[in-house]
């Protein structure tokens, strides 16, 4: 208690010290930056999950091959959740002579609970809900195929329905392969028409939406009870593979941003602590000389810091929450429409991390104070000089590593970042030493003021090196965020190139291939690719029938019940990578199959396992020859299971074609579809647009978070410049006493900071380019990603100028120091 009181008194007395205020401001900044980023990241992630909800049409749900029991709806309503039911089935629609197979969604009036159902009628578009009884919405392809317009009537399932609007966009679960043109009709109409009865091919869905806690509660309740046969839960996390990949990348960006802010704060704290320790050394020496025990000295120091840190951390939490709330409101228009509550935990976590950063980064210089001998009261030089190798300096490194690991959530990302930052630190130090050596060489022949500045920098070699390194680390973080991250984002956007196949044609027969190809070429289609497609079932693994096998992964059962899509090819398709075994090739001696990683994990398969497939009337026994990593975000036609052509080509199959066709060919495609009655054409453009839109939203969110990190970086820069302020003031007073003009001091400072800026800018540009190149390839899987070198070089130069200006602004007061200060300092 006494110690705390003494600590509070010490703090009150020392509060005027610039370095203590810098320490407090750095901690505050660290907590605010970490807190804002973490809070925003948490909200953005929730927002993105809400985006996933938009794709599903609800927050969660249940799907099954038969109508779902009323108990699920009752339980949802009991939890004050909104409920909607829907069913999807294929059905042929007729209009006069024309008939067209449609994918029909039969929905109630509440559908969709989340997301947007966009309709167009009479030249204007509206947002709507499920159609009224007796009406139907058809999409553009269906209207074109049937030769109909809004307001006309169409026959679906034997009922005459009025087309109330054109279906522009619907929450479709992010399904890539929509088999046919789409229609949305009323659920009651479908039931009346007998489309959902026993023996129908309808898939039923029950979706719920409401408060997150209630949704979680409902999901937990549903999981606790046995699901109806063939039913599975639909959650936002289980949305389409490529969507999830997009969200993962967004999360990586956000975590990266938070992480770099934390490290910037650490650099600022280390600088401020070093300065504080230097200031405290004579005082500690005096206390020790007067007989204060070492333990008590350290206790007082720790208590003083705690008295400073705890209120600052709490203030930081409040500020972070305020700023995050403000930023969310400002950014709200860019983000999803679903409101989320302000989460408190990330900001509290940030306070804990801020305190950890303070402890970790401030420890080495402050712990050194414990070693100040009482004899140092006589001569400052008796304080032990800093050892070149000191285990204490591992502490901030360990804290940084722990932060990197905790924030990145990935050992790979953590390793890359840690190695990059260490690399930058080493390169910065070496480059700084080299440039300082050069400065010393050119100094004798330079302009007197320039020479003075260069000489000053060269003489303060150790401090200059430390400063250049700290600035480089700060700048590399800023450049990574300001230049490399947007480039990565662009690269990711471009990853879906303009000529990505935007149409799929299903059900093409062998004898139609040549003619179909010719017709497409006449239309100007590009990137045409055809793969055989056989529908089959997995019947046994290693001789044991699959219904006698038990699989830990619940998805396995689902896949066993399904018709599987099988294909074969002699060459490994693009966006596929073999990670185990050998690629099957065209002519293996026995039937072989290549599986993707999801199948390996789901069924616990290994190389050499035998799988039996029933396809049509025949069977095929194939041995697992390789495991593939498939990039499901590539928008190419991909398969979980690929067989070898030598043994599979005899299976009954159709062909699946993918191709790119510029927009504006709807009529021609409708004709093509009519000419090949058996063919189903699938428009991927709509889905691609959706993905691009989500990428845009994520980009907006990252930019917001980025703005706060930039601010953090700029403030750290100022803290770094402040570390040498006291020494500079003393030096300026001495130089003024010796007759230096203000202009000479300013020019000298300009040279010094410009050189410092140049070193930091150059090093950080190199570091950011290297880290960006590495991240692009290893983490974001953007092959051929090249960091934007010209903007990086420009940013490096700009950094040099900004550091020079900041340095000049920071030393403006220094050049005005009264020379009388020296006499007063006696």
């Amino acid at each position: 208690m006494k110690l705390l009181r003494l600590a509070l008194r010490t703090l009150r007395r020392e509060w005027h010290l610039a370095e203590l205020r810098t320490l407090a401001a750095s901690l505050l900044l660290a907590v605010v930056a970490l807190g804002v980023v973490a809070t925003l990241a948490s909200r953005v992630e929730r927002g993105l999950l809400a985006s996933a909800a938009e794709l599903i049409g609800g927050d969660a749900g249940l799907s099954a091959p038969q109508a779902l029991p009323q108990a699920y709806a009752d339980e949802a309503r009991r939890r004050e959740l909104a409920v909607t039911r829907s069913a999807r089935f294929p059905s042929v629609a007729f209009a006069g002579e024309r008939g067209q197979l449609l994918d029909v969604d039969a929905v109630d009036r509440a559908w969709p609970l989340r997301g947007v159902l966009e309709l167009a009628a009479h030249g204007s578009s509206t947002i709507g809900h499920g159609p009224a009884p007796g009406t139907v919405y058809l999409d553009h392809r269906a209207l074109v195929a049937l030769g109909l317009a809004v307001g006309q009537r169409v026959q679906v399932g034997g009922q005459q329905l009025t087309i109330a609007a054109e279906l522009v966009r619907e929450p479709d679960g992010g399904e890539l392969v929509a088999m046919a043109p789409r229609a949305v009709m009323n659920l009651a109409d479908a039931q009346r028409a007998g489309l959902l009865g026993v023996g129908s091919r309808a898939g039923h869905q029950l979706l719920v939406a409401g408060a997150p806690a209630a949704v979680d509660g409902w999901l937990a309740w549903a999981k606790a009870h046995p699901l109806p046969q063939g039913a599975r839960l639909v959650t936002t996390e289980q949305t389409q593979e490529r969507m999830r990949s997009a969200f993962d990348r967004a999360g990586a960006f956000l975590r990266l941003t938070a992480l770099l802010s934390a490290l910037l704060a650490g650099v600022a704290i280390a600088l401020a602590a070093q300065r504080y320790a230097r200031r405290k050394t004579p005082e500690i020496a005096l206390l020790r000389a007067l007989g204060t025990a070492r333990g008590r000295v350290i206790g007082l120091l720790v208590a003083t810091l705690a008295a400073l840190a705890v209120p600052m951390a709490l203030l930081g939490v409040l500020l972070a929450l305020g700023v995050a709330e403000g930023a969310w409101r400002l950014a709200g228009t860019q983000l999803v429409h679903v409101p989320t509550t302000l989460p408190l935990l990330p900001a509290l976590g940030a306070a804990a991390m801020g305190l950890a950063v303070l402890a970790g980064f401030a420890l080495p210089p402050l712990a050194r104070l414990a070693e100040v001998p009482p004899v140092a009261v006589f001569r400052a030089s008796m304080v032990r000089r800093m050892r070149r190798v000191d285990t204490l300096y591992l502490v901030p490194a360990l804290v940084a590593l722990a932060l990197i690991w905790s924030q990145s959530g990935s050992a790979k990302l953590a390793g890359i970042l840690a190695a990059s930052l260490l690399g930058v630190a080493v390169v910065a130090a070496l480059l700084a030493l080299l440039l300082l050596w050069l400065a010393r060489r050119i100094a004798p022949g330079a302009h007197p003021a320039l020479r003075l500045g260069l000489a000053a920098l060269a003489r303060r070699r150790a401090l200059s090196t430390v400063q250049a390194t700290a600035l480089s680390l700060g700048l590399v973080a800023l450049l990574l965020l300001a230049v490399v991250a947007p480039a990565l984002l662009d690269g990711w956007r471009r990853e879906l190139p303009a000529d990505t196949p935007n149409w799929f044609a299903l059900n093409l027969q062998d004898d139609q291939r040549a003619d179909f190809t010719q017709r497409l070429q006449q239309l100007g289609a590009r990137e045409l690719n055809m793969l055989p497609l056989a529908m089959g079932k997995l019947t046994s693994i290693n001789g044991t029938p699959v219904d006698r096998l038990h699989f830990a992964d619940p998805r396995a059962k689902d896949w066993v019940d399904r018709q599987l899509r099988l294909s074969w090819t002699g060459t490994l398709p693009p966006s596929n990578r073999v990670i185990a075994g050998q690629w099957v090739g065209a002519q293996p001696p026995r039937a072989e199959v290549s599986i993707d990683t999801m199948w390996r994990d789901m069924f616990g398969l290994k190389l050499g396992d035998r799988m039996r497939f029933d396809v049509g009337e025949g069977t095929l026994d194939a041995t697992v020859a390789s495991v593939r990593q498939v990039d499901w975000s590539s928008f190419r036609v991909n398969f979980f299971l690929l067989l070898d052509p030598a043994h599979a080509s005899g299976l009954p199959h159709t062909w699946l074609a993918s191709f790119y066709l510029p927009r504006g060919h709807a009529e021609a495609l409708a004709q093509l579809s009519r000419d090949y009655g058996n063919l189903s054409l699938v428009d991927v453009d709509a889905l691609l647009d959706r993905v691009r839109e989500i990428v845009g939203q994520v980009g907006g969110a990252v930019r917001w978070v980025l703005a706060f990190s930039l601010l953090a970086g700029a403030l750290v820069l100022a803290a770094a410049l402040a570390t040498s302020a006291a020494e500079r003031r003393h030096e300026a007073a001495l130089l003024r006493t010796l007759g230096a003009r203000r202009g000479q001091l300013r020019l000298a400072a300009a040279c010094e900071f410009a050189l410092l800026g140049l070193i930091a800018g150059l090093t950080s540009a190199l570091g950011a380019a290297g880290a960006g190149w590495w991240l692009g390839r290893a983490v974001f899987r953007l092959d051929g990603f090249m960091p934007p070198l010209a903007p990086l070089a420009g940013a490096a130069l700009l950094s040099a100028v900004v550091i020079m200006l900041l340095g000049l602004a920071g030393t403006r007061r220094v050049t005005r120091t009264s020379p009388m200060r020296l006499l007063r300092e006696q």
């Binding site: 007197p448 000489a455 003489r459 130089l735 006493t737 202009g743 009388m820 006696q826």
Partner: protein, 231 residues
């Protein structure tokens, strides 16, 4: 350069007033004195008597609240800080009680500073000479922390003399040194004063040191008392 009959340094009715937490504080009041070229002049007085303030005013580090100070014929109070800095660079050298060497620089680099400010190319050679003159030629690459107090003060003296100033101001130059070392440093100062005819103005409360000066004044609570040392 002033004529021999003209004082090199002259203060007329100089006062300095500052505002403190307890209101107006007169540090100096009605101080007049004159120092001729080549003289050694002592300003003595108890702690807080205004010695250091007077030294700062005479050297042009600060301006008086009232009265005038002429250095080498220039009225300091009429000059701005930039012009005074110029004048200091050309005419003045300093030796401080706590040496005020820059810790990051070697002895030689500290001595080079005034020459570098003038933009001279022979800074290193002349600094070397100056260090030889104070007997520290062999220690020129040492940093201040590696030198004793007496050695640091000798480096400071070399720095004060290296650019050939007309007047050298010393503020308690032996105040931080033991008696023997202090005597050696004082010997050095007076030898340079004698050999180079550099005017020496020193502030001290050491009566022995003051007695070695050719003339001097005593300050009592900011006012001149009787001359401390007879001319």
């Amino acid at each position: 350069m002033s004529e021999p009959s003209q004082p090199l340094l002259e203060a007329r009715d100089v006062s300095k007033t500052v505002r403190g937490p307890e209101g107006r504080l007169d540090i100096l009041a009605g101080v007049s004195l004159a120092v001729h070229a080549g003289e050694s002049f002592a300003i003595v007085g108890a702690s807080g008597s205004g010695k250091t303030t007077l030294l700062g005013l005479l050297a042009g580090l600060d301006v008086p609240s009232a009265g005038s100070i002429h250095l080498g014929g220039h009225a300091l109070e009429a000059m701005d800080e930039e012009a005074r800095a110029d004048l200091r660079r050309r005419m003045v050298g300093f030796v401080f009680q706590s040496f005020h060497l820059l810790p990051a620089l070697t002895a030689e680099e500290n001595v080079m500073l005034p020459l570098e400010l003038e933009g001279r190319d022979d800074a290193r050679a002349r600094a070397h000479e100056a260090l030889e003159a104070v007997g520290l030629g062999a220690r020129r690459r040492h940093h201040p922390a590696q030198l004793s107090g007496g050695e640091q003060q000798r480096v400071a003296i070399a720095r004060a003399y290296v650019h050939g100033p007309h007047v050298l101001f010393a503020d308690e130059p032996t105040g931080n040194l033991d008696q023997r070392t202090g005597r050696h440093v004082a010997d050095l100062l007076f030898a340079l004063n004698r050999d180079h005819r550099t005017t020496l103005v020193l502030v001290t409360h050491d009566a022995t040191l003051a007695a070695r000066c050719s003339r001097g004044v005593e300050l009592i609570e900011g006012r001149l008392a009787a001359p401390a040392v007879a001319p």
